[in-house]
Symmetry: C2
Amino acid sequence: MVESRHTGSAVVIDASGRVVRSWGDIDAPGFAPSAIKPLQALPLVETGAAERFGLGDTEIALACASHRGEPIHVETVKRWLARADLGPQDLECGAHAPGNAAAAEALIRACETPSPAHNNCSGKHSGFLTTARHLGEATRGYIAPEHPVQRRVRRVLEEMSGLDLSRAPGGTDGCGIPVIGISLRGMARAMARLADTKGLSPDRAAAAKRILDAMAAAPQMVSGTGTFNTVVMTVAGATVRLKTGAEGVYCAVLPGLGYGVALKIDDGASRAAEVAVAAILDGLGAFTAAQRETLAPQVRPIVKNVAGRDVGEIRPAKALTAEAR
Amino acid sequence: MVESRHTGSAVVIDASGRVVRSWGDIDAPGFAPSAIKPLQALPLVETGAAERFGLGDTEIALACASHRGEPIHVETVKRWLARADLGPQDLECGAHAPGNAAAAEALIRACETPSPAHNNCSGKHSGFLTTARHLGEATRGYIAPEHPVQRRVRRVLEEMSGLDLSRAPGGTDGCGIPVIGISLRGMARAMARLADTKGLSPDRAAAAKRILDAMAAAPQMVSGTGTFNTVVMTVAGATVRLKTGAEGVYCAVLPGLGYGVALKIDDGASRAAEVAVAAILDGLGAFTAAQRETLAPQVRPIVKNVAGRDVGEIRPAKALTAEAR
């Protein structure tokens, strides 16, 4: 018996805008949350801010992250900010407990409260702050829609998606920055152009490559220990870049094929987004047989009950598992 | 812009089986998880087990609970089990961290691991154990489908729902007991018959009244501090009994009207189940104007981001908010 069902939309597209596969409505605007962080990181690299402050793969991957607040994430943010003469107190993302259970417990045991550096978006925000610092802009108020940092991100999104976003619906993201309504088609195309950089300026093209390379080199920084995002990127190696977002949004890049993928689960459930994006990637031949076997717990997760007994599974709809045409 | 959408089915029915209102498919079998705990508690009372071991409102409400593992829940379970010469080690529900954040933190600070008494189902399991003890049945293995405790629960469900469940699909619940596939119509009718006991045996009728009275007297025991379930029952007083379940199932009883309510969100989201059940109850006139105002955070919750800013709301579909016909 099927206990619960999720529905959604998704698209696989190339940099030219050719739709490779699609499911559901790919042109309705939806909020583009954390799933597009690799795009939001472009200014950090292409303005020269990353180079000036000596940021490596670890920091650039973290700028694209929804991390789990593990010590490696938090310490990296602190060291990074210090290089630009900034600190966690400059982050305007707010504080929440680490997503990683062990990290959250360690904080409680130490009688410490979470700082903004623990916020899963602290790497993205560090990127914003560093870019503002580099360009001599105010670091305070960098989350406001009219701040140059956010206007730049909006312009990058327009250029990469090929969409006019001047009338796009807007909202406020979980971490306080503006969030823009954009179609799955636009999101996926922007992701594809990170891999296939034809038509981009040399600086933008170099920044896109730098970001994809950093995500491949430091998948642990993009999410964290044991998460779907990090496990799939670690197992699949350089074949796939993945980025989860709030409310069931997922983005992926397949650099070898030059494809971008964007997906939204209607009800916002990440358990469905993960299984669906894995099925789509698998259908595109992203995994070898051995990788598919290693990724079985991600591709078709077993549901265990409290006593540890297998009581069900989460499986993708047939429409997703069919081979790519 | 609507960011995410949930769909589902629901029914309001009376004890005779007359459908008052319905939405979607109310006859498809679905698993009946914790939302039917008040029905699963009937044997505890009607066999005389509750009386023999001196159980009061606190314990009987806890037998109907998905509690949050707060000290009051855990201590009550321990004292209760001790009266029947049993202990947490006899609970076969497995252990998980308390749902209440403060309780979970306190456990971590004390360097203690959660016990089966912290399991949100430990009250229901204590009821099972106590009934087995009272009737001289084995207390070990009481979660197995063939154990008299579970056969009795199945029979009660059949009798109360008026359905033949001999061919109903089965599964294993989060806490290890058998879970039975039953329609929303059947679940809701069984809940209605807790309130309108015409046609039930005197013992069953008395047990149903005892259980509804206990839930009204001790709403804190049915769920916990600040939860939708406990807050709505506390504010609405004796007008409403509510019980949440896994995967977006919700049940309610309106004793004054003799109505039972059952609801399932297709994708399993509790945020949707809560807002939907509140809208249905409100449409049935369950809340006074003052109560509706107090319950605004439950009926139409504001979504806040990490920084504490209002960034959205969860609202019921129009079809749910229309007045009852």
